[in-house]
């Protein structure tokens, strides 16, 4: 199946069929190269043109994941709270996946200048954790080093191939569904592209996993398990969508919306003090109605977290530095996996992770070992707390209820 492919961009500097030997023993089974740039003598590998992706693949442009560094690399660039700003492809993979159901999302992102060879496995993990695949793209220096047999470069290449192998071996995790408390309803395009897409991006930065609900594909199932949904599009929802969302509210959900919703739903009510919002009640649920139109997705993402409440955080970290996560569960909910991404370049020690849910057993996977390790777990009332050994870049906790 094409979507099970592990893509690798053929370096322009790798010439001749002998260069293909570098791929021996690696999981890369699809060479991505512009038309006419494929090496000769290729056997057993698919050749894919990024302009015409294989069936079952959707290619999207992404970013080099990591802590965004300020000019000169002396300091991390900051987000609005002063916290280091993290670039990740997770939200985009989830959006592309919703837009192209059944397709495997490949992310096309070149390494930034000066990217450490050690950070390439994280680029693989940053996409794979969300069900996508990074088109593994070496920079010129690393590609050259591998071709020349430079020991450091070859070692880095083995780690890159190892990371890609890991995710190929755990492809079943891609069939798990995201566990989210918050959903964002939008078409994520046209007038709504900036607000919708930035909301997805910034919700992740506030440590929330937001579900993607496409306006034209929404159904009652889209709201299952959610505690709140945001409708921040520029125009009021169509009657069908409005009805769907209000059914969600009537049954106990919370809608966060603004004047663009149209006539205020429900009746005046009270709720957590949140400047700029009026609370309204509707059935068993409530509506947080912004008094002014939304203009800043960062503010809205942070307000949404408070509307939902951190009580319902699905994953929370301590001592993790700049981290991200993908929390997905099997259809029956008995098994779950928390894939954790650590964006600081050095390893992180004594990381605690609180995962919502009643999980009893678990094991820990990292990219540097073939076998899972036992996971130290502290079982709590409605959650489990995981105590990780020193980890770097990526770790996955596979949990069982």
């Amino acid at each position: 199946m094409p979507s099970g492919l592990t893509p690798f961009r053929w370096p322009a500097t790798w010439k001749g069929s002998s260069a293909l030997e570098a791929l021996d023993g690696t999981p890369f089974d699809c060479l991505v190269c512009e038309k006419g740039a494929a090496p000769g003598g290729v056997q057993g590998l698919m050749i894919a043109d990024p302009a015409a992706p294989p069936d079952g693949v959707s290619i999207t442009e992404g970013v080099w994941p990591g802590v965004q560094m300020a000019r000169g690399q002396a300091a991390a660039s900051s987000g609005p709270t002063g916290n280091p700003w993290v670039d990740s492809n997770g939200w985009k993979i989830r959006l592309e996946g919703a837009l192209h159901p059944g397709a495997r999302v490949w992310v096309d992102a070149k390494p930034t200048a000066g990217a450490l060879a050690a950070s390439f496995p994280r680029a693989i993990a940053d996409c794979a954790a969300y069900g996508g695949r990074w088109i593994v793209t070496l920079d010129e220096g690393l590609a050259g080093g591998i071709a020349q047999g430079n020991a450091d470069a070859v070692a880095a290449w083995k780690r890159i191939a190892g990371a890609a192998r890991f995710f190929k071996d755990h492809d079943a995790w891609s069939g798990y569904a995201p566990v989210a408390a918050l959903g964002i309803v939008s078409d994520f395009s046209g007038d709504n592209e900036f607000m919708g897409q930035e909301l997805l991006n910034l919700a992740a930065r506030t440590n929330q996993q937001a579900g993607v609900i496409l306006k034209d594909k929404a159904s009652a199932a889209s709201f299952a398990g959610l505690r709140a949904a945001i409708y921040a599009d520029a125009k009021p929802p169509e009657p069908g969508l409005r009805s769907l969302i209000m059914t969600f509210v009537q049954s106990g959900g919370t809608l966060i919306t603004g004047p663009n919703w149209g006539p205020a739903p429900g009746t005046p009510s009270s709720g957590t003090e949140l400047p700029g919002y009026a609370w309204r009640a509707a059935g068993k649920g409530r509506v947080a109605l912004a008094r002014e139109e939304f203009s800043d997705p960062y503010t809205l993402a942070n307000e949404a977290v408070l509307v939902v409440s951190h009580r319902y955080d699905s994953v929370r970290f301590w001592n993790a530095g700049s981290a991200g996560f993908s929390f997905t569960a099997s259809p029956a909910g008995k098994r779950a996996v928390v894939q954790m991404l650590f964006y600081t370049d050095r390893g992180v020690a004594s990381v605690s992770v609180r995962v919502a849910g009643k999980y009893r057993t678990g094991k820990l996977w990292t990219l540097d070992g073939a076998d899972a390790r036992p996971l130290e777990m502290d079982l709590q009332k409605d959650a489990v707390e995981l105590h990780l050994p020193t980890v770097s870049q990526y770790a996955a906790a596979e949990l069982e209820a």
């Binding site: 709270t81 002063g82 957590t272 003090e273 408070l306 409440s309 951190h310 009580r311 955080d313 929370r316 970290f317 301590w318 001592n319 993790a320 004594s350 605690s352 609180r354 105590h387």
Partner: protein, 397 residues
């Protein structure tokens, strides 16, 4: 010596210094001395904690006489960002006031007739509700909220729910600041309680109920990113200005008395803490020393070492008395001053507070119940010597 300084100026300064010294000695000698209770409690299990705390409050004269019919403000101790843990330890076991200790105190205040109880703290760089911050820290605010009727929470690191800041002046004029602009909650209360974690402090030597008051100052006015003329709208940093004296607070607030004064944090922080505790007097002081950490006030401190279990709670109506007994129970000499542990590189907040008449630190004048001199369950002083002997000394990390 400045060329313009005359012999007469020096004599005048010396006389003034002697006069002030005499005044301070006089105030210290007359500083209030009350009863301090030390409770033994190995765990935060309410079945053990509640009776221990109730007994202590009885021993210091009863909680009812302090809180009955009153609006009680309780400043808890949630220093630093919630994302830091000492190893895997929950924050309440190392450097935050434990939620069970807060809930127990709130419950007993409710039973003693408190009309309203407001839990206050200025959490790190956020305007989020305090309840949300507690959740992030892994604490359940509902357990505190349900411990008594009319329990409220307020984040005091910015303007909060009021329309303007409250100005509280230092009655003695202040060491560094003549007064402070604070969140309204510190004025809109009849009783002020400091419920702190008992621990060391990298800059001030010791953290107790006095040092806990450092966090009542909003960083919108006293932080590095405070507004120049008016307070900033949101807190985004720590109180680095208090440490370094690199700038004045927002001009709307009382300014430092002598902006050219010493800039060393070991000089400034103890004095500012004393000024804050003078401007906002403490009526009930409680130190949570059931489980705590050694080596500093939080995991980010280079010398931060380990979680320990002294199994102690210390309470009194006077914060200096209470902190003095707490220090002694940790193995430190509360009469110590600069150059002596834990004040190797700072002045003693207790001495400064004593000199402005807040309370005595002299154990001979304090009636201590439930503890006798030398009874040290975890010897912080000895651990400090060992740690520093290994070369693990350090200031703020």
């Amino acid at each position: 010596m400045h060329g313009n300084t005359t012999r007469r100026d020096l004599l005048r300064a010396a006389s003034l210094g002697a006069l002030l010294g005499g005044l301070r000695w006089g105030r210290a000698a007359a500083a209030p001395a009350g009863t301090v209770a030390v409770g033994r409690c190995k765990t935060y299990d309410p079945a053990e904690l509640m009776p221990a705390m109730a007994r202590m409050f009885d021993q210091i004269g009863g909680l009812g006489r302090i809180v009955k019919g009153k609006t009680v403000a309780v400043k808890i101790n949630l220093t630093g960002a919630y994302t830091y843990r000492l190893g895997y330890a929950p924050l309440g076991d190392s450097h935050y006031t434990h939620p069970a200790a807060i809930a127990a105190a709130v419950s007993l205040m409710g039973k003693a007739g408190a009309r309203r109880i407001r839990i206050l703290e200025s959490p790190w760089a956020t305007t989020d509700p305090l309840t949300e911050y507690l959740l992030l820290a892994g604490m359940e605010p509902r357990e505190i909220e349900r411990a008594a009727p009319n329990v409220e929470f307020e984040n005091t690191n910015y303007l909060g729910k009021a329309k303007k800041y409250s100005r509280l002046m230092v009655p003695t004029g202040g060491y560094i600041y003549p007064g402070f602009d604070l969140n309204h909650s510190y004025e809109d209360c009849d009783v002020f309680v400091s419920l702190s974690k008992m621990k060391e402090h990298a800059t001030a030597g010791f953290t107790g109920t006095l040092k806990n008051c450092f966090g009542i100052a909003p960083v919108t006015i006293y932080g590095g990113n405070a507004g120049v003329d008016e307070p900033a709208l949101q807190p985004t940093t720590g109180r680095d200005t208090f440490h370094s004296g690199s700038r004045q607070p927002s001009k709307s607030a009382p300014q430092e008395r002598d902006f050219m004064g010493p800039k060393q944090d070991g000089y400034r922080v103890p004095r500012i803490v004393t000024d804050l505790a003078s401007a906002r007097p403490i009526h009930l002081a409680i130190n949570d020393g059931i489980r705590t950490m050694t080596g500093g006030e939080g995991p980010w401190i280079r010398e931060a070492d380990k979680v320990v279990n002294p199994g102690l709670i210390v309470a009194g109506a006077n914060p200096v008395n209470t902190d003095a007994v707490s220090m002694a129970a940790m193995g430190f000499d509360p009469m110590a001053d600069r150059g002596t542990p834990p004040f190797e590189s700072c002045d003693s907040t207790l001495r400064l507070a004593e000199e402005v008449g807040i309370g005595t630190r002299d154990l001979k004048r304090i009636e201590v119940v439930g503890w006798k001199s030398g009874d040290v369950t975890v010897d912080f002083a000895e651990l400090r010597r060992e740690r520093r002997g290994r070369g693990q000394a350090g200031r703020r990390g």
